[in-house]
């Protein structure tokens, strides 16, 4: 469906977890025809396991807001017309190259036709076989035919053919004949222009660490099992219990890093996520059962994302979860009491602890891809996909991109960012997304307005029989007879399969014959059919707002299956209400805006330049606004990274590319002085000296950067021997010889970071900065004593290897607590650092030649800019993301994005990831020629509006404003999410929600309450 007849680029996304879904959505939105190959029976990956996620303690992905597509990737992937989901498929082979990849997709026999299955669940109830469910590591049982995940859009039923006895009970019971006990594996070969790998990860098997007794002692559970226990869809409905006897545990011990940071089992990397999910699980236990004690045995607490520090503090202080920095060596069960004895190391002494439940915090394993060797995909020693430090998402094979845990363990936000970035890299490689090529690729059709609103309503009522399944149970003929008696209802019919394009096309004849201008469709979930209906409406020139779907499945059949009388009465009432509703339907707001297909990027550092280049590569013009007179930003002063790349060279090469690129107009020495408009149409005034330039653009990316924080702690500024990490880095790079005479260096971490009253957040990068400088020092001067005083050494993910390398190189790491910070003094010219050594359990003094402070990162002073742009800052002065899980570079509403250190402290590679992610999000807007206000919105009657401003206060998205001259409340349709808060608070209905106006709601309520 691309404008100008250009062909769609075909992309294969391998894996339908969070990374795969995110990438697929980005690609589909920008005009690619995406195929998701998922080996399980449903997409979702590990996400269905999680009932709630940190740090918000909510699922947080589905925001129930119709205009937030990325928030529920499950639903969106199902609905997007450019996405084909192939479940039960594995990639058996991959050959060819860019533009001509040949993928062999082999079906995995699921035994259930996913398209016919209607999720009635009868097959499961009749199956006589019971086997342990691997979804919960065997904590629960399942049948041989089962639903793979508890809560999914598509049911995802499958048969475990190893367990199945072929008794045929399910076959007979299935009302729609979706079960097939003889399904055989088949293969198909498909051709793709590019491939994106997102195969995810698996959790380490707890048996790997035999000394903890997992699999032998029932009360030693895996984090996967605990996640099921705390899930409301789990076996105990959210109650934590000791599996041996089902009792409530009085004391729970978590053991961290099981199968992580452990070369003895071939997993030297840190899994990055376990510290935070343990904190979430521990908090949940304490919240649900306050009498249960919880202790966590850990090496370092690695919670380095935005908001995580606050979350961890709350878990410790508010939930009183005890954290012990110590590794457990063994767990033994008392066979009589089933209590578990833990032996742990406490500064050289071994102590005992006792618990009723021990939880093993399992790390991530890299996935095994059979075809990786075929195409020569480069993976590291652990099996994770290798990408170059400054090319995130790009693999060693041209045309193949990768994202998510496959590129190294990471949590959901980082996964979302990497997947968006990889999609961007893929699109740039295809030179896709250029203006004119993918304009209509959004999957949201523009309706032709039929002038139905002035005509007398002619209403058609259609009920979808769902292969006879719903027709029987709901007494369709009775429903239609009653509906047919209603005024203006001119046609009532039973139809089938309106959830498919073919089924819905069947309505066409009735519409023509009866000259219908309002349609009611009784079927299953509204959202599943919505896009289909919109598209159908567009094809036949029918206004989409003249459709109403009555949800006869979720609102009738499922909740009232056992109460036949109530079921039928409710169905009849809902159909009645729908007739009343369509009678009063009004047109959608038809506002359409032309998109100004240029971008404005604020900040000429690495983040801004990366985003600008990415957009320019897609063919869009970019205005790049830089405050100083030179491109490059902070990284011009950065000499090397832990992984050995040169940030300075990166900054210089990006600057050179930007300067050469004719699509990018650099405005240096410039500051933003004014800004207005909405997505697709912004006007920004920029001042350079005396001159003011005015730019019109469709999207904006804010990349104003950050800086090393200043400090006056530990004699910095008073003694020349006290320096910051950035200053040391410069010396290592430019005057290494001066370091040869250094005998002893002390580094202090978290200076001014993670400290109440100072910067309370973790700056994320300081630990790796210290590692790289410690290694750099050791490299120049192997004899130098380097001591790093840290609180938690956060060398997460694959950085752990460098931490190990530094220890092996003789760097001494010793922890300190915030309550007992190191003391620094000068005594007769001697610099002295004194601290409590937790291992030696004594007070230690060092007299170093040099004291290096890791002072953390703070954002540029963004207050003035934020005020001009009317964009929100968080409590620390970073630009605030709209959702901390799934929309990290977004502001509320589309059109404006942020990335780099303006958002949050990041490593350079992460900055690049987020910059490309922001560019990709922005490009998705520019890919459209026009933006049409969503049909989920509100309309304001200027005649009725009193300008009282209640709607402005009620709107959570800043989409309402009182027009300064007219004194009338207006709607910014680009920001409006259609939530209806303003319509609810408006006293006289001057603001009405389209499709749910006050008159409609009252009339519908009147019908229902008869």
């Amino acid at each position: 469906m691309t404008a100008g007849g250009a062909k769609k680029h075909r992309v294969l996304v391998v894996g339908g977890g969070f990374a795969g879904m995110t990438a697929a959505l980005q690609l589909a939105e920008q005009g690619c025809a995406v195929t998701i190959a998922e080996k399980e029976a449903a997409i979702g990956g590990h996400f269905p396991l999680l009932d709630r996620t940190f740090p918000t303690d909510s699922c947080g992905v589905c925001f129930l807001s119709p205009k937030q597509p990325a928030y529920c990737p499950f639903i969106e992937c199902e609905l997007r017309e450019n996405i084909t989901i192939k479940v039960g498929r594995e990639v058996a082979g991959l050959t060819g190259g860019p533009g001509d990849f040949r993928a062999k997709l082999r079906t995995i026999a699921l035994g259930v036709d996913q398209n016919s299955c209607i999720d009635c669940g009868v097959c499961v109830t009749v199956c006589p076989v019971r086997v342990p469910d691997e979804f919960s590591d065997g904590l629960e049982e399942r049948r041989a035919i089962y639903k793979q995940y508890p809560k999914m859009v598509r049911a995802g039923y499958r048969i475990d053919f190893d367990a199945c006895t072929r008794c045929g009970a399910c076959l007979d019971a299935c009302p729609v004949h979706a079960v097939n006990l003889d399904s055989e594996a088949t293969e198909e070969e498909l051709i793709f222009d590019a491939v994106l790998l997102a195969p995810g990860f698996s959790l380490v098997d707890g048996r790997l660490k035999g000394e903890y007794g997992f699999g032998r002692y029932p009360n030693v559970v895996s984090s996967r099992q605990l996640e099921r226990m705390i899930s409301f869809s789990g076996p105990s409905g959210g109650r934590v219990y000791a599996p041996a006897d089902g009792s409530m545990p009085r004391r729970v011990a978590f053991i961290q890093c099981v199968g992580s940071r452990d070369v003895s089992c071939g997993r030297g990397y840190c899994s990055s996520v376990c510290c935070m999910y343990t904190a979430k699980q521990a908090a949940f236990i304490r919240e649900r059962s306050p009498e249960t004690e919880v202790v966590v045995y850990y090496i370092d607490i690695r919670g380095m994302g935005k908001g995580y520090e606050t979350y961890l503090n709350r878990v410790r202080k508010e939930y009183q979860v005890e954290y012990r920095r110590s590794m457990v060596s063994t767990v033994k069960e008392d066979p009589r009491t089933r209590k578990l004895a833990l032996v742990y190391d406490a500064g050289g002494k071994f102590l005992r602890d006792e618990a009723d439940l021990v939880v093993l915090s399992l790390g991530f394993d890299a996935p095994v891809l059979d075809f990786a060797g075929d195409v020569g995909l480069d993976t590291d020693e652990y099996g994770f996909c290798r990408t170059a430090e400054f090319s995130p998402g790009v693999t060693s094979v041209p045309g193949i991109f990768a994202a998510g845990a496959f590129c190294g363990p990471k949590d959901i936000p980082e996964t979302v960012m990497e997947a968006t970035c990889a999609a961007d890299a893929l699109l740039v490689s295809l030179a896709a997304g250029a203006p004119g090529e993918t304009a209509a690729g959004t999957g949201i059709p523009t309706p032709k307005e039929g002038n139905v609103w002035v005509e007398e309503p002619r209403i058609g009522v259609f009920l979808c029989s769902c292969s006879g399944f719903m027709e029987e149970r709901l007494d369709y003929s009775g429903l239609l007879k009653k509906a047919g008696q209603r005024h203006r209802v001119v046609c009532t019919e039973i139809v089938d399969h309106v959830c498919t394009a073919e089924g819905i096309a069947g309505l066409r004849a009735f519409i023509g014959k009866h000259e219908l201008n309002r349609l009611i469709i009784g079927a299953c979930s509204v959202r599943l059919m919505e896009r289909l209906l919109d598209k159908f409406a567009q094809d036949i020139g029918f206004n989409p707002n003249a459709f109403t779907v009555v949800n006869l499945q979720e609102q009738c059949l499922l909740p009232h299956a056992s109460e036949s009388g109530l079921l039928k009465a409710k169905a009849a009432a809902l159909v009645d209400a729908a007739v009343t509703k369509v009678y009063r339907d009004l047109p959608a707001i038809g506002d359409t805006f032309a998109v100004e297909r240029r971008a404005l990027v604020i900040g000429g550092g690495v983040a801004g330049m990366t985003a600008a280049l990415s957009l320019a590569a897609r063919g869009y013009g970019v205005f790049l606004i830089e405050k100083s007179d030179k491109l490059g930003g902070r990284l011009l002063d950065a000499h090397y990274t832990l992984k050995g790349s040169s940030p300075r060279e990166l900054a210089e090469s990006l600057a050179a590319k930007v300067t050469e690129d004719k699509r990018i107009e650099v405005v240096a020495g410039a500051e933003v002085s004014g800004h207005s408009g909405h997505a697709g149409n912004y006007t920004t005034a920029v001042r350079t000296g005396e001159d003011v330039h005015v730019f019109r653009h469709g999207v904006m990316i804010v990349a104003t950067g950050g800086r090393e924080a200043a400090t006056d702690e530990y004699l910095y500024g008073q003694d020349r021997r006290v320096v910051t990490q950035v200053e040391l880095e410069k010396r290592i790079a430019t005057a290494p010889e001066s370091l040869r005479s250094v005998h002893s260096v002390v580094m202090i971490q978290c200076v001014g970071s993670r400290e109440p009253g100072k910067r309370e957040y973790c700056s994320r990068v300081c630990c790796t900065h210290a590692l790289k400088n410690a290694l750099g020092l050791k490299n120049e001067n192997p004899g130098a004593h380097v001591t790093v005083l840290y609180r938690d050494l956060r060398a997460y993910g694959l950085y752990e290897d460098y931490y190990r390398a530094a220890r092996e190189a003789g760097v001494l790491f010793t922890p300190y607590d915030l309550e007992a910070k190191p003391e620094v003094s000068v005594d007769g010219g001697t610099l002295r650092v004194t601290y409590d050594d937790q291992i030696l359990r004594s007070r230690v003094s060092i007299e170093p030649d040099m004291l290096v402070l890791s002072t953390g990162i703070e954002p540029a002073d963004n207050r003035e800019l934020a005020a001009i742009l009317k964009l929100p800052l968080d409590e620390y002065g970073f630009f605030a993301e709209s959702n901390s899980k799934a929309a990290l570079v977004d502001f509320a509403g589309e059109g404006r994005y942020h990335c780099g250190l303006a958002s949050v402290p990041l490593h350079i590679e992460e900055t690049l990831t987020r910059s490309r992610a922001a560019a990709s999000r922005a490009a998705a807007v520019l890919a459209r020629e026009t933006i049409r206000a969503s049909k989920y919105s509100v309309a304001v009657s200027t005649r009725l509006c009193s300008g009282c401003g209640l709607c402005v206060e009620a709107c959570p998205y800043d989409a309402r404003e009182i027009h300064p001259e007219d004194n009338i409340a207006i709607v910014h349709y680009d920001l409006c999410h259609g939530c209806g808060s303003c319509a609810a608070i408006c006293p006289n209905g001057a603001t009405q929600q389209i499709g749910f106006d006050k008159g409609q709601i009252m009339a519908m309520a009147g019908e229902i309450m008869r």
């Binding site: 005024h487 009343t580 009678y583 009657s941 005649r943 009725l944 509006c945 009193s946 300008g947 009282c948 401003g949 209640l950 206060e953 009620a954 009182i962 004194n967 608070i985 006293p987 006289n988 209905g989 001057a990 106006d997 006050k998 008159g999 009252m1002 009339a1003 009147g1006 008869r1010």
Partner: protein
């Protein structure tokens, strides 16, 4: 705060006030004055917007009658920028309605010079007319009693119910610019005025008024005694009302003679909507709806939606109800709308810890959200 006590000498109360207001107009501090002026018929008072100082004759700032709530008129005058400052002479209930309407952006406070006059009680307009026609001067009669701290209505009349239970016979100076005090003052001899510092300075500079610092301590004594008395009266009256109207059935009875004239809504100072939802397309039902309802229930009351009107008005603005009682005055069916609104209003206001007209800075409860309200709303609070 600046105060002054002006000796009337040989002038009347009204003459002296008219002189001050004339000087105020002449000074240019305001461009016009809104105040009660004798009606053309001669037997009542209604507000007039005066620009010519000579036409201040026949005005009486203490006229004990309200035909129209000033806050509504002030909203008409300042919804847009009037281009000049307007002095408005208001009663305490009107001043408090001004505070509420300011929060809803219906009044521009900065365009006003608010002069609040202590209220000695008001009569229903037709009662006032009858008294005036019989040759009485109800305003002067009340002013004579003001010094005693207790004002009884004319022996042949009674005050409006709203006034008998009003806890606000005056307003604090923070809400207005100038106060003309009456309670506890010998109005035959003196005029007592309080003004905000800035306003006082402007007036002195322009020669409108000298602030001699004169005090009338009796006034605050009278007011606190009066307030105590009124609260008791209020609780008694509203207590009786809620006992009487204790069920939906009783409420239906109470409202059964409502003729859908919308007078209560039109005269309510807080009902600020340009056009009420009850007069908008939302309530334009189709014939088949009426017939459908009649079919389902056998019979329906026509006109419909009268109960709904009162419930919706309660829902929308009872939290801001200042208790001025204009709804009672306006109701041709003598439905005790004020008692209903004050009864519900007091409870709602207490729950929200809100008092209408208490402060400009106190946000309207509909625009604020406190975490503990979530617990209330969701029913998870203990």
């Amino acid at each position: 705060m600046k105060t002054t006590v002006i000796n009337l000498e040989d002038k009347s109360f009204n003459q002296s006030i008219q002189d001050i207001l004339a000087r105020l107009l002449d000074s240019g501090l305001v461009g016009s004055i809104l105040l009660p002026k004798k009606t053309t018929g001669g037997d009542n008072y209604v507000q007039a917007l005066v620009k010519n100082p000579r036409l201040l004759a026949d005005t009486d700032v203490s006229a004990p009658v309200i035909l129209v709530q000033s806050a509504r008129l002030i909203s008409n005058l300042t919804f847009g920028d009037p281009g000049e400052r307007i002095a408005v002479v208001v009663k305490p209930c009107e001043a408090r309605a001004v505070v509420e309407l300011t929060k809803f952006r219906q009044i521009r406070r900065e365009s006003l010079l608010i002069i609040a006059v202590d209220c000695l009680g008001t009569y229903e307009p037709k009662v006032f007319s009858t008294l005036a026609k019989s040759g009485k001067d109800p305003a002067a009669d009340l002013r004579k009693q003001a010094a005693s701290g207790r004002c009884e209505p004319d022996p042949e009349a009674s005050f409006r119910t709203a006034c008998t239970i009003c806890e606000h016979p005056s307003v604090p100076l923070e809400l207005v610019d100038l106060i003309i005090g009456l309670w506890g003052i010998d109005c035959e001899e003196n005029i007592y005025i309080e003004a905000a510092d800035e306003v006082a300075a402007q007036m002195e500079e322009k020669g409108v008024l000298e602030f001699n610092g004169g005090e009338q301590p009796r006034r605050s004594e009278c007011l606190s005694a009066l307030r105590e008395e009124r609260v008791k009266a209020r609780d008694r009256v509203l207590g009786d009302f809620s006992r009487q109207v204790s069920s939906l059935k009783e409420l239906q009875k109470l409202l059964s003679t409502c003729m859908r004239c919308h007078n209560c809504m039109i005269n309510c100072p807080i009902c600020y909507c340009r056009e009420c939802v009850f007069r908008s397309p939302t309530f334009e039902h189709t014939p088949d709806q009426y017939l459908g309802w009649a079919r389902d229930k056998g019979a329906i009351r026509m006109p419909t939606d009268t109960m709904m009107l009162h419930l919706t008005r309660l829902n929308h603005m009872v939290i801001s109800c200042v208790g001025c009682g204009l709804c009672d005055t306006a109701c041709p069916s003598d439905i005790p709308v004020t008692s209903l609104f004050r009864t519900v209003g007091l409870r709602a206001q207490k729950m929200m810890e809100y008092e209408p007209g208490r402060s400009y800075d106190e946000p309207a409860p509909a625009t604020t959200f406190r975490d503990d309200e979530l617990l209330h709303e969701s029913g998870t609070a203990n």
